[in-house]
């Protein structure tokens, strides 16, 4: 006798039938038009002090262009427009067509008398603050600008750039205001509010991009931001629990490290003597790093001023000078030395790591060097810290000879210009 189980063929038929139905439905949905709704990009949550200036610059670049190859995109006929949507109105490249808002590559502007190209946007930003129309705007909006509530109070170029994003109406470049408003109302949206809605760090990244593109050593966006708002960037946000992990890959100087560790990691000691750093007592390639004493002199030196005039260097304070020298060693080469310093430190320092080192270097003066028995190299113009009478002359002579043999003056200038060009080319690409 056969047991009366349900016979398999019915199960099979039924299964085939509903598989066919399901296939039909799924096929139909695939035939209908497909739209994928992407979530708007979330704000990038970064701890600015733990990224390298270059990372910040790259972040700014991708906010502006949505790509790291904007020029290539333009040449392919695509529009490089990122989350910030800046290139919709601002012109960043000669190849690009956008004239709704002031161009950001410093083309001539007959209305304001700008000479164009000879000055960079970074430099121009400093002029904006000094513009009499800016003073006028400050008075006009003493009670705060209507939409953002901000009273224009930028003091430096960097602060001006930051202010323009939070409060486009605070200063409207002549000829770019809304028609009929006599250049008092800007067509630009407030960047930290919808629809663009960048967060503070992103705005800092955009400003960093502008600064470093025009002047590779210039990296003051964070300072500017903090000076402008009078608070620490990232304050009020939830504290980031830990430092960026020491990820595998290139070594990076972190803010949590001591100057000693940073110098070791970055192998500064291979070339420089640095007071207060145990390992850095023997470097004979670069200058003695007593920036508390040297930096002010260097900025004031005729050579440095010449570089500033050429638009290659821009530091005005010792601090800026040190940062410039690390981030963009080619901007200014101490007379008597070659432009031999590695150019990749901007990849290797987090902002806070840079601060640690800069603080340490600023604290070093002639006295600290003398205390540790360190001396300048003979090819440094400032001359030895040790009075000639006490100097060990034999040693000195040898060193002078050697260094002159190795780094001739003529070669010097040539190299440093090549380096600068490289640096510029790099930041433009």
């Amino acid at each position: 006798m056969r047991r009366q189980f349900v016979n398999g063929s019915v199960i099979l038929k039924v299964a085939l039938w509903y598989c066919a139905i399901l296939g039909g439905f799924a096929g139909y949905t695939n035939w209908l038009p497909q739209i994928r709704g992407d979530a708007p990009e979330a704000a990038v949550a970064v701890d600015v002090s733990n990224v390298t200036p270059e990372m910040l610059q790259e972040m700014g670049e991708s906010i502006i262009y949505g790509s790291h190859d904007p020029l290539g995109m333009l040449q392919r006929g695509e529009g490089p427009i990122g989350k910030g949507q800046c290139p919709l109105c601002h012109r960043f490249f000669m190849e690009q067509k956008a004239d709704r808002c002031p161009n950001l590559i410093a083309l001539p502007n007959p209305e304001t008398g700008d000479e164009g190209l000879k000055v960079t946007e970074e430099q121009r930003s400093h002029d904006r603050v000094k513009d009499p129309r800016y003073k006028e705007a400050m008075e006009r909006m003493a009670d705060g600008e209507e939409n953002s509530g901000i009273v224009p109070h930028a003091e430096t170029g960097g602060q001006y750039l930051i202010e323009s994003e939070y409060c486009p109406n605070c200063f409207v470049v002549m000829g770019f205001g809304l028609k009929g408003t006599n250049d008092t109302v800007s067509p630009m949206p407030i960047i930290n509010k919808p629809p663009i809605q960048l967060v503070d760090t992103e705005i800092v990244a955009v400003v960093s991009y502008l600064q470093m593109r025009d002047d590779p050593g210039k990296f003051t966006a964070i300072e500017d931001w903090e000076a402008y708002w009078g608070k620490t960037l990232g304050e009020g946000e939830e504290e980031i629990k830990e430092e960026a992990p020491a990820a595998p890959g290139p070594k990076v100087a972190l803010g949590s490290e001591t100057p000693e560790e940073i110098v070791t990691k970055m192998t500064c000691y291979a070339c420089h003597k640095i007071p207060g750093i145990e390992v850095a007592k023997t470097g004979m390639v670069g200058p003695l790093l007593i920036e508390g004493s040297s930096a002010p002199h260097r900025i004031a030196s005729a050579e440095y001023k010449a570089r500033v005039k050429e638009g290659l260097a821009s530091a005005t304070t010792p601090r800026e000078y040190i940062i410039e020298s690390i981030i963009s060693p080619g901007a200014f080469v101490v007379p008597g030395f070659a432009d031999d310093m590695l150019k990749d430190f901007k990849h290797k320092f987090t902002v806070s790591g840079l601060d640690v080192l800069v603080d340490h270097l600023l604290a070093q003066t002639e006295e600290t060097a003398i205390a540790e028995g360190l001396d300048r190299l003979p090819n440094e113009k400032e001359g030895s810290l040790v009075k000639p009478a006490e100097a060990k002359i034999d040693n000195g002579e040898k060193t002078v000879k050697k260094s002159i043999e190795e780094f001739g003056d003529e070669q010097d200038a040539h190299l440093s210009i090549a380096g600068l060009e490289n640096a510029h080319a790099k930041s433009f690409n």
């Binding site: 739209i35 709704g37 109302v185």
Partner: protein, 335 residues
Amino acid sequence: MIKIRNKTLFAQIMAIILAVPMLAWAGGGGATGFIDAGTFALVIEVGLALGAIILATVVKKMGMPLPKLVQAPILWAVCYIAFRVILQPPIPFSLLAMYMGVCTVCILLYCSLTTESWEEFSNPIAKMLRANSGGAKMSRYATFVILPGLIAFQTYDMMLPKFGEPIELRTVHPAPPASINTHKKVINLQTAENPFRIGDDGNYLKVGDESKYFGGNAWTGDVPVFLQKVQEGGQVFFGTAGCFFCHGDNLDGLGPFSFAFNPIPANFADSGTIAQLQESFVFWRVAKGGPDLSREAFPWASAMPPWEKHLTTPEIWKVIIFEYWHTGFFPRTWG
């Protein structure tokens, strides 16, 4: 024998009579000027349907009903001709495919409605697949040649490079933002009302109540407040902003510039555009134009300029009043 031939002849004549207007229509590309395309198509469709029913009845009465297996392809062909040729202007392929899909399924259902009709329909097929006669064998062979051939052709056709522009899927009415910022004012699109909907009593005129002003002349001297606003809106439309260059004198999207645009400008006279939208939505579109289209409105193909740069807020509201008044549509409300 002769009788049957006569009947067949009669059926053929009927078919030709029905086919003539269809073919004439298809050949002539539409009876332009005589009667508008839509009406003509409807007339033809209804005529065709009646004709088909009469034909079917006549044929049945004459004692020669068509077997289901023959009816099915004929029905299918009639549907195809109706949607492909008679319905003018031509509908896009995607829609045609959708319609024909429904028709195909329903014709199959029609053939299997009762057990008898299903047997009538399926027996010849079963016979063709199973019978051992020469004819059945031949048709089997033919099927197994033609079927792969068709699939091969389909594949070939799919692989063949096409030179048409790619299909562009536009979301015509994307979701608006919750609020917009125009002329230093935040406008909440959920709640914003047109400030110029003013009735004779000076109060807000509820949507729908403006119908009493429809068809009147807003350009005579003494008109109600509402019509004054319409008039001012008209000045914006034809003067200040010059909307008519694209959207047309009759607001039908056929302005002198319209042919340069792809997609062509919105046709306000169509029930699918402003009639489907809230006034605040229209305000958003006018004020912000193409540049402010939301993410989902890919590929943002809109040449509409952001008019807030050139018009004041009141001007925008007035031109909206004018557009609704002129087309006789009412804005959508959710209240």
